[in-house]
Symmetry: C2
Subunit: 212 residues, 2 copies
């Protein structure tokens, strides 16, 4: 297997996003027992150019053979390692509302190894109820619970004001990654990684193309 | 105001996604009554290079003045027009589960002018109940309802099998845009625009950076 060497500091979020796409396509090819794929075909399936595919992969090592293309399983395994999906990640969910529920029970997270260990909410009616094997805890107890039983990633599905108030505590307890679904741009100190997910962005992309 | 000319066929989804980001940042600057911004400052706030900002905008016309930067309101209004956010879009939601509920009541959609006109579900217990001013209809009646009262965009928040079964009907009734949250890659014929939203992609981006 190609060695994952990488100069990851230079890798943009857009490259990482494309790696996620390549991973899904390769996974699908593997399930269909297709063992090799050309960069042109992989590019076409991902809606990018083959030069883009080769450039994205070049950050991490030498993949593929001229004229033969990529070995599907080998490239998929390499991308799994690059994306950090070769082990599981523990997460805490903040906000047990409709979005929180949808995220908690989203199969794609579990399949990737992203596992919710704690769920927090401010609503006393929800505290003590159980989702799968996780009991919902009071948000005011989050600092203590996360100190005793730390996780790597916090997923925020609260209203925007509540989200902004959470960040300092999350940094204090040593959270390293924050995935924010609240409709507000959060900011975090150096050393903590944040992704703000804006659900409207995909719709704006549609309306752009529909307006052409 | 700069004329939106555009060579939009060449514009990649990534450019459109960045335009969405510029729009949010400019909106925020406008609220803070900041009237001009340099491409360097705008780029920094969006996490891209200023060359990227200039290149993205160059597809659509000449914006900004050397040494002075961009006029915030003018550039925001231009991007609103480019993204097709200068008028409203009517939408139908498929799947009135937890994710569907979260999407229906997501304020960001309404603020952008994306309005749900219909909600469909297969569950008889949900049909006839009301979300805001929209009554949930039986999914088997969708074709007739959407023929009589058409919408431009379908938002799919159903299980994957149901999503795949929906596509032909949506194309038949003249839907032009599909936003798919079901964890399956749908495909649509030419002339229909599709965005598959994969909630795991943002987590994979976090795990990439956390693994460095």
């Amino acid at each position: 297997m190609a060695v994952i060497q990488g100069d990851m500091g230079r890798v943009s979020e857009f490259t990482v996003r494309r790696l996620s796409n390549y991973f899904r396509i390769l996974n699908d090819l593997e399930k269909r027992q297709i063992s090799t794929v050309s960069s042109a075909r992989l590019a076409e399936m991902c809606g990018v150019t083959s030069a883009q595919v080769r450039k994205d992969l070049s950050y991490f090592g030498n993949f593929g053979t001229r004229g033969l293309g990529y070995k599907v399983e080998e490239l998929k395994d390499a991308i799994v390692q690059i994306l950090g999906l070769d082990h599981s990640w523990s997460m805490a969910l903040f906000g047990a509302g409709f979005l929180g529920h949808a995220l908690f029970f989203h199969n794609g997270f579990r399949e990737d190894g992203f596992l919710f260990r704690h769920v927090f909410d401010v609503d006393p009616a929800k505290v003590g109820t159980t989702w799968s094997d996780v009991s919902i805890s009071a948000q005011k107890d989050a600092q203590k619970i996360l100190t005793d039983s730390p996780v790597e990633i916090a997923v925020i599905a609260t209203p925007p004001d509540a989200a902004r108030e959470l960040v300092d505590m999350l940094v204090d307890v040593g959270i390293r990654g924050v995935l924010n679904f609240a409709p507000t741009q959060l900011s975090v100190p150096d050393g903590v990684w944040l992704r703000n997910v804006n659900l409207a962005v995909a719709l704006e992309s549609l309306s752009f193309y529909l307006s052409m």
